[in-house]
Amino acid sequence: MALLQIDNLTVEFETASGWFRAVDGVSLSVEKGEVLAIVGESGSGKSVAMLAVMGLLPWTAKITADRMLFEGRDIRNISPAERRKLIGKDIAMIFQEPIASLNPCFTVGFQIEEVLRIHLGLDRQARRARAIELFRQVGLPNPEERLNHFPHQMSGGQCQRVMIAIAIACNPKLLIADEPTTALDVTIQKQILDLLMSLQAKNGMGLIMITHDMGVVAETADRVVVQYKGKKMEEADVLSLFENPKSNYTKALLAALPENATGDRLTTVSAFFEGAPEAAETRA
């Protein structure tokens, strides 16, 4: 049984110019202990689909799906109370902007202990011990001291480590990482990706990696879903995606990578769409 299974998910928003379809009939599934990368450019609906799973979209969004199962349980119409029990405990999420994702008014220790108190109901001492252990796990130096720090006293990379510590605090079965390294420098990105991969391997959790960066996909994923304008273009395991891409869009994306440049000009996406049915509507 898949950890998370989504069939035919559609998300629409009402705007001044009518309904806008952000996600259009996307199906995907994640197994236990698997790393799935959802890759796409801005406007491909890759984040929106996962926010819909988490129930984090604003009320203006209209979400429909044939199936949305987490561990075989339907999560389309569960009550807000049940959803709160699920989110943060069994499904956790980390975001692109680590500093903005932490509440600037409280110490990071308070914020991680809050999660432990709500979901696990630990007492004060157990919370503190667990928080220190978690900080050690994500590689923060001096964890005892760190607990009393405020987010603004830390760098972006450290804040992202705190976010990861909070996310894995309750040993989630599924972790959704939405562009976790986009706001970080390359050397820090490397550290954070290594950390995520080692935690994933150790805890055996499912990991959904939302990204626009083919390099990150290549370094982390087992399986890849390529999205474009809300539609799924291709799904493949990582090696065959890079070795032998099926859809024109994936081919175009790979060719547009500067390291794959042939000659003194890059190949652009439209060159691949020449004559393809999508060519008519490639306005970004």
């Binding site: 390359v186 626009h212 370094e219 890079f242 547009a256 500067p258 652009t268 970004a284």
Partner: protein, 282 residues
């Protein structure tokens, strides 16, 4: 003299300090953002400046475009030493250097039509009639791959890549010789990034432009640069031709940077999967 003739930009030991104002009980603090950087760049070539956030590369860009005044050092553009003190800069000198910013959503005035965005530099610096300005703007729109039908539109009606094209067009309106590109593609999607990089290459060929290309993305730098400078905490730790730097990095930091860059080629994916299999089997 032939060598100096061909030098577009020379920077000698340029420095920039920021002063953090002290509080009631705190002494003033001086931050050295750029600690003495020197380089020479030939006409029509591209120098890429690479580094991570806070390494001083954007400060360097701001000094090259006269937005910030250097604390010390010399700036020689097109054989002329620049007096960077405020008020001493001639309009002619200013027109030789233009900049393209990273964020295409913040660099265009939301209340200005594209035609006015492009026409403004001409309106301020030349005595052209409005019809002439319109013609020049339309010409430039075509050059960057847009068209005259976009003349009357506002920036919010364009995508990120289109806006970056407009920003490039604006920078070229005064026929500059040196273009400073401050992370021009890092806010763009991959497919659009390729288009804008191609456009920049086309324009460089057509106008003989010299580029200073600021970036944190090594794969882009490897593609576009003739020379590469790596900056780390305000210092240039590595400087040389692209081949030198990429094939034989001298400084420890450059090597770390290369090692941290994700690789998207099939061999490294294979190697990673093999490592993972070995780990789970063990």
């Amino acid at each position: 003299m032939t060598t100096t003739d061909n030098t577009m930009l020379e920077v000698r030991d340029i420095k920039r300090d920021y002063e953090l104002p002290g509080g009631l009980f705190k002494p003033k603090k001086i931050i050295h953002a750029v600690k003495g950087v020197s380089f020479k760049l030939e006409r029509g070539k591209t120098l890429a400046i690479v580094g991570e956030s806070g390494c001083g590369k954007s400060t360097l860009a701001r000094m090259l475009t006269f937005i910030d005044e250097p604390t010390a050092g010399e700036l020689i553009i097109d054989g002329e030493k620049i007096d960077t003190r405020p008020g001493h800069l001639t309009a002619e000198m200013r027109q030789k250097v233009q900049i393209v910013f990273q964020n295409p959503y913040g660099s265009l005035n939301p209340r200005q039509k594209i035609g006015d965005v492009l026409g403004e530099p001409l309106l301020i610096n030349t005595k052209m009639s409005s019809a002439e300005r319109r013609d020049r703007a339309n010409e430039m729109l075509v050059k960057v791959g847009l068209g005259p039908e976009h003349y009357n539109r506002y920036p919010h009606m364009f995508s990120g890549g289109q806006r970056q094209r407009i920003a490039i067009a604006r920078a070229l309106m005064l026929n500059p010789k040196l273009l400073v590109l401050d992370e021009p593609v890092s806010a763009l999607d991959l497919s659009v990034q390729a288009q804008v990089l191609n456009l920049l290459a086309d324009l460089q060929d057509e106008f003989g432009l010299t580029y200073v290309f600021i970036s944190h993305d090594l794969s882009v730098v490897r593609y576009i640069a003739d020379e590469v400078m790596v900056m780390y905490f305000g210092e240039a730790v590595e400087y040389g031709t692209r081949e030198e730097v990429f094939s034989d990095p001298k400084h420890e930091y450059t090597r770390t940077l290369f090692a941290a860059t994700p690789r998207a080629d099939v061999e490294s994916i294979r190697a990673r999967i093999a490592r993972k299999k070995a780990a789970t089997a063990a």
